[in-house]
């Protein structure tokens, strides 16, 4: 394990040195594929050094046949290994694709279950994909109630016989990497998280399970009381999990010691609603979203509440801009003193990271219900339900690019080096990749929520005033003929 760790570090160090040298000598360098889990790394910051707008579709693979009785959940968001292999979870399989051309390189069976995003970790024999499987005992409609009698920490057979497991496959062979799947007590609808040694899983029963990547043994489990809202986040030896909250407990972020599972602290905000996203750590801040439109920041070190800004969106369903959508996980992103969030209607918001003050918003008017955005050096990339990928300038908030993803419900945008890879469709699942389009020129469109008084008046005159004029002209002859409706003083109708 120690050797493995060192070899990974040296590999990364070599890569970093190569990049630095290349930048110094001014030679073009291909970006590294390294998007091994939800929003890239353990902090889930969603930062990509891959291509940015203008973008064009590089290749698509719509020749993906989903098997099983219920394929409506489609593919999970993809993860990408260092060699560029793209891994997705299908309803009854784990699939690997060549990042260069989209051809399938392996397929491994999986128990039917929610298409939660897998993660790629390092085992002694090479990279493995860790994934969850099983729909519990009540099938796809399982509500995922809180486990009534949680097993003591350290026991790995909690809920034995219950159809929910964690498994792993070797990326090179597609064979199981562990002797047997790890039994879980409840189903999992959130992405798997990994670090150098372990995989971290939060289930709908509120239990965090930590599994050794090399052996597949459970290192520890911890009961948090209410469902886990998003992927478990890893930061500075701590494990951070968002609990959805309910009648049995408040919605909060719980910090656990990554080694022992001991609880360190709990963070919550008085005026926050149910927290619905993973805690995202960026620049010492821990960011999350709540259902009533709150974007919240806490100190990542001690969980101290910093600020909460509330977005208001009149067209958000049930007045909730951020929703927990099963395996479709929302999350904020942050870099360079700015925090960005995208609500379910496809409205992009920017805040000052220090104070939470609103900077700008851009209404794409294209719902984005199933995926967090991705952040490049210059742009916020937003995959949407129509299948269009939008790029919004981080500074101005203007739309600078849009490209059709050749499918609907584009989601799970991941950095695959020189490409961005996502999935589309549900029953009709497909993989789609985007590459930089050097020949295209960026556009510059302000948000439709920015008042343009000239355009407003012109449209009013052309639409409203003209309609009024036509109404008058059409009805005046009629009114002249009819005359007053009531004969004065009589109360009788005149005509």
């Amino acid at each position: 394990m120690r050797l493995l760790h060192l070899s990974r570090v040296s590999h990364r160090s070599l890569a970093a040195v190569s990049v630095t040298v290349a930048i110094v000598v001014g030679a073009p360098v291909a970006a590294l594929a390294d998007w091994v889990q939800f929003q890239g790394g353990g902090a889930h910051d969603g930062l990509s050094d891959g291509p940015s707008a203008p973008l064009a579709v590089a290749w698509t693979n719509d020749d993906i046949k989903l098997e099983g009785t219920d394929t409506t959940s489609g593919l999970s968001s993809p993860v990408v290994s260092e060699d560029g292999t793209v891994v997705v979870v299908a309803p009854t399989a784990v699939l690997g694709f060549d990042g260069a051309d989209g051809s399938q390189v392996f397929s491994a069976d999986r128990d039917f279950g929610p298409s939660s995003q897998p993660a790629i970790g390092q085992a002694p024999d090479g990279p493995i994909a860790v994934f969850t499987e099983g729909f519990g005992d009540s099938g796809p409609s399982a509500s995922g109630s809180v486990t009534p009698s949680p097993s003591p920490p350290g026991q790995d057979n909690a809920g034995e016989g219950f159809d929910s497991h964690v498994s792993a496959v070797d990326l090179e062979t597609g064979q199981p990497a562990w002797p047997s799947p790890v039994q879980l007590a409840d189903i999992v609808q959130t992405p798997v998280a990994v670090d150098e040694t372990s995989a971290y899983i939060g289930d709908v029963g509120g239990r965090v399970t930590v599994i050794d990547l090399a052996s597949g043994d459970v290192r520890w489990t911890k009961e948090l009381g209410t469902p886990i809202s998003g992927a478990v986040t890893l930061d500075a030896g701590r494990l951070l999990a968002t609990t959805l909250g309910g009648q049995e407990g408040p919605s909060e972020i719980v910090a656990l010691d990554a080694e022992s599972g001991d609880e360190l602290w709990r963070a919550s905000a008085e005026d926050a609603s149910n927290l619905v996203s993973a805690p995202v750590v960026a620049n010492g801040r821990m960011l999350t979203l709540d259902a009533l439109g709150g974007v919240l920041a806490f100190d990542a070190e001690d969980g101290r509440f910093l600020w909460r800004s509330e977005v208001i969106n009149p067209i958000a369903p049930r007045g909730q801009p951020f929703l927990l959508q099963g395996v479709g996980a929302p999350a904020p992103v942050s870099a360079d003193g700015q925090v960005f969030a995208v609500d379910v209607t496809g409205r992009v918001y920017a805040f000052e990271a220090e104070t939470g003050a609103a900077l700008w918003d851009h209404a794409l008017n294209d719902p984005s219900q199933f995926s967090p955005p991705l952040l490049t050096d210059d742009h916020v990339l937003v995959p949407t339900d129509s299948g269009t990928l939008y790029a919004v300038d981080r500074r101005s908030g203007h739309l600078v690019w849009r490209v059709d993803g050749e499918g609907t419900f584009l989601r799970g945008l991941s950095d695959a080096g020189d490409l961005l890879v996502g999935v589309t469709g549900f029953d009709n699942a497909a993989l789609v990749t985007f590459e930089a389009d050097a020949t295209a020129r960026l556009i510059d469109e302000p948000s439709p929520t920015t008042l343009d008084i000239g355009r407003l008046i012109a449209r009013f005159l052309l639409g409203g005033a003209l309609t009024g004029l036509v109404a008058i002209l059409l009805t005046r002859p009629l009114q002249r003929r009819l005359g007053p409706a009531i004969l004065p003083g009589s109360g009788e109708e005149s005509g």
Binding site: I312, I315, T449, Q479
Partner: protein, 318 residues
């Protein structure tokens, strides 16, 4: 013209009280001769309000001004919400609620809803005054608008009642769930439109007090053979359908609404103005036939004594 002055208020021997009627018992009665038919009333209302440059111009000016104000307050759209600004409550209550929560959020917006309602009540009062004047004289003047302000307290009260109706309907609908929710909400809208539609007209033309206006409006609405419930349903159900119809112009977040959105919003408001004219005509045509509120008889000595005896029997002994 005033129905109040023409009504008899005999203080002599009270006539025998009319037999009690059920809520919908008037539906099976023969049509009233004096009540204009729905088609006639609508045509009159449409011709009267649409042909008036003052009505149409005021409506356009109000829509533009209100839009600029709400945008300045931070409302990002959708613009189509203004389609029902000129509707009677509770149809316009959805606009009150959505605008206030769209500006201040769900938590604070629900408190601010009565502020929005007051502003809309002001506009509605002006519009009903103009609509009544077009029915009475064939045209509208600014005096009609000023006269309409008499209805402001009644219209504001109706906006408050509208909020209560909408929330009550949603609670009942939530308990019933599913398809029942739609029926309950629609029934609440139709019912409230039916019984309160005449109240602003009464306030303007007869200068009655709030409770008197509401009570008289209910009695006028329930007059046998008037067809008022049918009219309310024909009006409110299609309007309710527009709340649920996707793809209408102006339903996106956009503070510079496109021309089709303006056309839609102006046409809907003109439709509401025409309906107000129709309501005005239908009430004015039957105003003198609307029964006054039954006067509560003072308790007779015998009944009062009997009541005292019953109370004393029930009271526990010390």
């Amino acid at each position: 013209m005033s129905a109040r002055s023409g009504s008899s208020r005999s203080r002599g021997r009270a006539p025998a009280p009319p037999p009690r009627r059920g809520l919908l018992s008037g539906m099976s009665a023969a049509p009233m001769d004096s009540m204009p038919r729905i088609r006639t009333a609508f045509t009159r209302g449409l011709a009267g309000t649409w042909s008036s440059p003052l009505v149409v111009g005021s409506l356009l000016a109000w829509l533009l001004a209100e839009w600029l104000v709400v945008v300045a307050l931070g409302y990002p759209g959708p613009f189509a919400l203004l389609a029902h600004v000129s509707a009677p409550t509770p149809l316009s209550t959805f606009t009150d609620l959505s605008l206030s929560t769209g500006i201040l959020g769900v938590r604070q917006g629900l408190l601010f809803v009565f502020g929005t309602a007051a502003v809309h009540a002001l506009w509605f009062s002006v519009l009903i005054g103009l609509a009544i004047e077009t029915i009475e004289s064939g045209g509208a003047t600014r005096w009609g608008a000023i006269r309409g302000l008499r209805a402001f307290p009644v219209v504001l009260a109706l906006h408050v009642i509208g909020v209560a109706v909408v929330f009550a309907a949603q609670i009942v609908a939530a308990l019933g769930g599913g398809g029942l929710a739609l029926i309950v909400q629609m029934a609440a809208l139709v019912g409230a439109t039916w019984v309160f539609a005449f109240a602003p007209v009464i306030a303007v033309t007869e200068r009655r007090r709030l409770m008197d206006c509401l009570g008289r409006s209910m009695r006028a609405a329930r007059m046998p053979g008037s067809g008022n419930l049918t009219f309310a349903a024909l009006y409110a159900v299609p309007i309710f359908a527009t709340f649920l119809t996707p793809g209408l112009p102006g339903v996106l977040l956009d503070v510079n609404p496109p021309s089709p959105a303006w056309i839609y919003v102006v046409l809907m408001n003109l439709l509401h103005a025409a309906i107000l004219g129709a309501f005005a005509l239908r009430y004015l045509a039957i105003a003198e036939e609307v029964p006054e509120a039954p006067v509560r008889a003072a308790p007779s000595r015998e009944r009062a004594a009997g009541s005292r005896r019953r109370r004393s029997r029930r009271s526990p002994r010390a």
